[in-house]
Symmetry: C2
Subunit: 221 residues, 2 copies
């Protein structure tokens, strides 16, 4: 029995769903409204966060720990490059998007616009939305800059770095907050990731009350 506790617009859940799908690991998806602080869920993960992956009696939490587990146990196809130095670069970028991008952009835009409404925790703070809208620009430019010299974000090979970045960005794209026209290399990179079969189930998710823009699920946006 494999079960992933998740939320449709959680970037960390999307990262793990991409990894699972790319490695062709079937999993039952269970939506968990973490803001309800359900006691049985807190027993699985006292941090109260998704994703949580349950494999029979084994309970895994923290998306980077879940990823490393999956990479070790299901190495095919690899989502980390071959040498230790290249792996460090892939993990550096995974950390960049999980931590820096998430706090500077996703927390300000997505959590203000969507999660507050879902959790009924007050109105969006416009100062934070402004901050997020300002910050996303230099992150998009950083992706564009990396992609001028690379085939994939961390180098020659598709890796966890691409999934970590695309997971955050696909959530923001759902609420129309990504300007893909900022640069050609940026847009080409996202088109490449988005056209992976692994991306399909993400793009099919709909959140009641929130309608994504028309280009959202379009592979030729």
């Amino acid at each position: 029995m494999r079960r992933l506790y998740h939320q449709p617009l959680s970037p960390f859940c999307r990262k793990i769903r991409l990894v699972l799908a790319e490695k062709k690991i079937e999993v039952e998806l269970v939506e968990e409204k973490t803001w309800d602080r359900r006691i049985d869920f807190l027993r699985l993960n006292p941090a109260g966060k998704v994703p949580v992956l349950r494999v029979d009696e084994l309970v895994l939490a923290e998306s980077s720990a879940i990823f490393e587990y999956l990479e070790e146990v299901y190495p095919d196809p690899p989502l980390l490059p071959r040498t230790a130095a290249e792996r460090a670069e892939a993990r550096r970028l995974e950390g960049w998007f999980d931590d820096k991008f998430h706090h500077e952009v996703t927390a300000n835009l997505l959590y203000e616009r969507v999660n507050r409404r879902l959790a009924r925790s007050g109105y969006p703070e416009s100062a934070r939305i402004k901050e997020g809208a300002k910050n996303i620009k230099y992150h998009l430019d950083y992706i564009g800059w990396l992609m001028e010299g690379r085939r994939w974000l961390a180098g020659d090979q598709m890796s966890i770095a691409d999934f970590a970045a695309a997971a955050q960005l696909s959530c923001l794209d759902y609420i129309g907050d990504v300007d893909w026209n900022r640069s050609e290399p940026l847009k080409e990179w996202y088109a490449k990731v988005k056209s992976r079969p692994a991306f399909r189930s993400l793009l099919a998710d709909l959140l009641p009350g929130f309608t994504p823009p028309e280009h959202y699920a379009d592979l030729d946006f």
Copy 2:
């Protein structure tokens, strides 16, 4: 040439310093005042954060990526357990302290009290300090609870989980913000980590203008 760009009271730098010392990897320490946003440093790590580890021409950033690199290239002594499931537990706790503890506690206490003064970025916000002081209690209790059934935080073996937790806590202990008497298992765990030879250089660091409490460097606190 091995060089670590660091700050004395950065928990992520301390985590990597503990890993380096435990693996007996010698390194030159260079203090980097990240708030000055030195252009040559931003070229090494556009995220503008420490730690950054330079090994000849190779530049490594993001503490969890640096750790995984060191664990792969210098496997002795191992700081991850043997099975994939146990490794996932060690990495889950590394993530807990790097992310959850850091944002709920360290950012509220240490960054308000110390980093603001160092970076001359205004006065501490007392609401955040209160929040941090409230939050640290349940994290300390979580450590105590884990240690009731385990020899080390993630299980039978000392691991990156212990270093990630002790790195955050030793910074907070420097400013007197940790109540070690909350539980016996908590105190015994920290005494055990603190008495590692790897801990010595951390405890010897002094930050001008900030005097640690008497028990700070005392192994028998």
